[in-house]
Subunit: 282 residues, 6 copies
């Protein structure tokens, strides 16, 4: 396929990616997709986003189901799975799984869009050259993405575990890394380029999202996260919500929060389409 | 009874309203009153409000016990129950129960006070014309209140589930609706009119108050809520704390938070009485 | 021992003080030290502070183990235990235990440093003349400290349970008491004097730290707490993290938060040493 | 209505009785019916009883929904509600609610059947003349039933809280009371008379059913309970499962157990009908 | 004091021994006494034992409060604390605390009674010569007791962790050790000698008592334990309930079970006194 | 490979099989292996089995790690993974994963041993021809095994969900199916043939093992299960412990129970080897 700005912005397609074999500490994130879907449709909540869009309006988004990753090489199947969504002129909104899935997702997306800006919410930079010898570790996706020039800019928000190695990596890749101790104004997320949003649930404080493999206190509130999501202006060509780990959840709280993030992500993805209608350029 | 400004501002009277038959999704809020009382008197806390008032000072407030709502028509007994409190020249501070109880409470209050301003904390506007056919649903009290002109102003704070129908209802009733994404300054709550405060526990983020039927992430912190309560200046003629659902609580956290809200509500109700001594006008 | 500014700022020494016999309501805080240590070393987190220091660098801090407080008079052994750390030219970073331990810790410290400024994070002022007859109660350490002139200034942050008696005590001792409803700017914590930091886990909101004996809603977020810790500029001569009570914890959340506070405390204690190298004066 | 043996044994009718106003210690049992139904239909279980009956076979039992007990006098509505089921020639299988509901249920049944044998599973005899002044207390239904001669025999199984007063009551009413410390052989439950089964969830040990208001250790295992249920041979004219209290449940365990008891109860009720087809005599 | 059979069997005296410094793995058992007392007096239960005794009858037993073990050498204070109870002609019923407390308790008792038979319920034999160098470890009390000839017989029930060393120790001390896989008939506990009952909560299966430091599946049911307690016939000169660890409890289940064991222990201790009135001989 | 009795009985080899893609209702069992290993080595327990064997004796068993099932066709890799263990003359003791893994395990085993007797502990017969179209479902392994004549006898213990279809399947395959309502005497498990033990954690009652996907009340106690395991006399050529699902566990109880079952399984596997030393025949 010819790489161009010209890919049209079709509807978002929900795509479960139940894969957690690249987790370094604790598996379980592969169990997330059905639980997030269930929370999204819970009778206790409603179908409207805070941006005023009714997600139950026919055709607003598509549910492409979950990738079948058990049969063969799971990790290798993510790129073609996302590719299949793109081939149907839809924009992938992936439910992880661990964070390693973002690299194959971007591999697929970068064939269709260039000059992508990634807005990455996370407690960790995930920029390790490799982690315990695994270059595809969930601690390394953005190193792989930047090395392969799958994105032009990488904006990281919510970081609170920066170490020497990752600081160096961030500098080398030109990452715009914002630690919790100095968050950017929301205007910083205004852009005209194609945007990919990668939301690691541990960007949130564990008080709000205890169901993650790596609980890192001092994180974003849900309100702060939603505020940033609403502030993103560019055409959103894809997104993911990753690292919700049901094994660590408390009373189902984190499933509900993941569904909220998903809902508002759908809201901003759909808003873009409505307001512009155009092909994203940069 | 003659409707007038002239009702004097007696002490607050705690009144349990263990009623949850108008809940749309999950019952349990009727179990709240004894648990909130227990948390209020827990040896681990103290009796002083943040506004410097010792709630154990004799006569500061009265405990009118819980309404007996099982014997006959529960919903129909709320108005006379509140009326009985008002007849003793006390101001009702009701512990729900689901949010449907606010309509009969206001029905009783509006016979004694007019031009009431309602300050309503909630994740939901509760303005449905009816919900699943029930006009007394806990999703509808403020529609009933405004239709019946039981209040002059309705200020809603903390909303994050606005849909098309409720937006229309809010416009029709002139509700001053503030979504979480754009909260008002606390000064906005300065008023000289009689004020009624209706506090739905789900106004708070589920991280702070998991024990609610409808967990809606992205809500107020306890600190923000207390800040707003302290900022209310008008004579407070009544209040409620509703929708604490013990079935969903985690480790008793929400009972403690409900007791905190109750405590600060008592503080501001009593402060008004001390500072003015006068009959509220508008 | 000659009291002087001259004590050098050696490395911090972690010292467990498993003592909770002065708790007024619920014991359990004595169980905290091994659980905080375990959380600090959990594989799910990393060893770098937010201030960019790798705590695993050799010699950065020392672990002096836990005091043996069962054999004899537990409370009486705290002062000599801390003294032993000071004698090795290390700065005590104590893991409680209940808050009563801060008095003997300061007793030891005041032999080495004078003009100490205490920065005290707490929901409660802990200034009771005595509590239920116990002058060493965990509700009284700062009364004892100020009476004995073990510190020059007492800055209290996060208070939300001020009552008449404690207000009076605060005034008498000249405590700079900041309630949650009016927190100081972080610049307020800039000082050139020797600083002691006393961090009661209940300064944090129970949503973040449910594992405390006295849950008091409306507290600091972890982010706010870390922000204040980072803002302290003076030479830090000692610190404590107290009142984590595992009996009340939910899913281990509070152990992780206590370890985070400990980590950032170590970061600021070590930073001082690196940047100044000098003996603290005031 | 003419009292006779002649009432035919129609299908069981599931009838929710969400009433807990006669609970002495803790309310919440009124929340049970929808949760038991949900557990009965959970995809994780199957529809066959241990006695080899597929509960999904059409017409095997009827679901009569829940009584509406909020509108008027709740307790007074139970008798007519059960009466309506009987009028449709169905046998009531009631889901409580607290144990007080068994008195009005038997009141209705005794108009249709006489010489009823009650098989009553419980930690408590529930034979108080009254409890704290309430003759309809959930601690008193079998006193009322026996006084009013609504049953001929009362067999009590699982008792472990016998006191002087209740021992006397049991003797007076001729109750065949079996304490946990001396359970009867299962053959004891063979009878030709009409049988009513009243199953209080606290008959089970709290390890199996923590979700009850009165946890009384040392109770039946689920296996023992099911064994007794299977051993009952008489024509079963009605039954109840009461006192499941979701507020006290742990991880939904007790809802699943209540559904299991319900399932096996349905199995034995239906078996009787299939095997005999006749009207029960004694 | 003159050692004799002649000590009279006074009423049982409840004595809290909040000591857990000899725990090898996890502390917390020192927190148990107030929680067991609270569960014993819970309004949800009643005051009669299964053996037909009303524990609220005046003078039936005495509550001697908790030993103050923080001030000085905790372990050393247990013997004199128990001695003080014996001096008042009462029989100690101690609430641990970890199991190490049984050695000093027996030390005190053996001054008053000889030829004591210990009935010991436990998952572990607790016969280690020492554990990790500590001869007073909670894994060693019965080695100390038997070496010091403080008891004549040691009957151990519920064991399921026998290893080579402890098997040898049991043989050497002539312990009558019954593993879970071969429990004795209850008649085995008939004796005319003075009996001491030591009940380690981990004798019970963790399904019934999760709140213990060492969860060892495959244990006694509460019913089996109560059955054994009721079967003991000798004059009971003392008892303990140890190793309840609230830090590991689930929803307060184990506190309730510990209170049940305590209640039935009181029942059998009091029964002996009533029925015999005589001084125990052997 | 030549099929013979002649394969020698080497040491057991622990082999994790983290696979749950054939679960019908809830995934999560793939997370079990590391958690069971962790519980096995917990400092709170000891290394001796109830049959008197110290599992820490060198060479007693081998840990073959976990199969890597993510890289390629997970299900297809189980047979060769087990084959590799057998090729090293070790006996596989597999940690699931869901129950579907037993089919490929037996496929591998049947190449080395014939006339295998399977002793299968489970709440469910797992004999479905297929489940929701999946012939490899975790509800079908024993249908596949018996069809393929991989075993001579199938003894099923603990069943409590028998339906028409599975009853028919059991009859066709000659399964010796024992429902909970009529368990066999333990002598029934005496055999001289090669034995394979398949232990589904849901054979146990949910009070003992809540951490399973399908909680089915009325199951075995841990003691009953251990009693059966100890009663098996034949040479044990392999075993599995499956269906522990950490997502549903309560306070880690089920991990501890799974480790206990594993421990006793190791004990009986090793005992056989010690006592016979011979090749199993039938």
């Amino acid at each position: 396929m010819h790489k161009s700005h010209g890919a049209s912005l079709g509807p978002p397609a929900l795509l479960g990616v139940p894969f957690d074999a690249n987790s370094s500490y604790l598996r379980g994130a592969a169990l997330a997709p059905p639980l997030i879907r269930q929370a999204l449709k819970c009778d206790a909540s409603n179908s409207w986003t805070e941006t005023g869009i009714n997600l139950e309006s026919p055709g607003l988004y598509h549910d492409a189901g979950d990738l079948e990753l058990d049969g063969e090489d799971g990790f290798g199947l993510i790129d073609p799975g996302v590719q299949a969504v793109l081939a149907r002129e839809m924009r992938p909104l992936c439910l992880g799984g661990d964070h390693s899935i973002t690299f194959p997702i971007l591999t697929a997306l970068a064939r269709h869009f260039h000059d992508i800006t990634i807005v990455h919410f996370d407690a960790h930079p995930d920029l390790y050259a490799d982690y315990e010898g695994n270059p595809n570790s969930h601690a390394s996706p953005f190193a792989r993405i930047m090395e392969n020039k799958l994105a032009k800019r990488l904006i990281q928000i919510g970081i609170r575990t920066l170490n020497g190695h990752q600081k160096q990596q961030a500098a080398q890749f030109g990452a715009e890394l914002f630690e919790m101790k100095k968050l950017p104004p929301s205007d910083y997320l205004k852009t005209w380029c194609p945007v990919y949003i990668s939301f690691d649930m541990d960007a949130l404080d564990p008080a709000f999202a205890p169901g993650v493999s790596h609980r890192e206190p001092g994180g974003l509130t849900v309100r702060e996260a939603v505020h940033y999501l609403h502030a993103i202006t560019g055409p959103i060509v894809g997104a993911d919500v990753v690292e919700y780990n049901p094994v660590r959840d408390v009373s189902g709280l984190t499933a509900t929060v993941a569904a909220k993030i998903l809902k508002e992500l759908l809201g901003v993805m759909v808003r873009e389409r409505h307001s512009s209608g155009e092909t994203p350029k940069c």
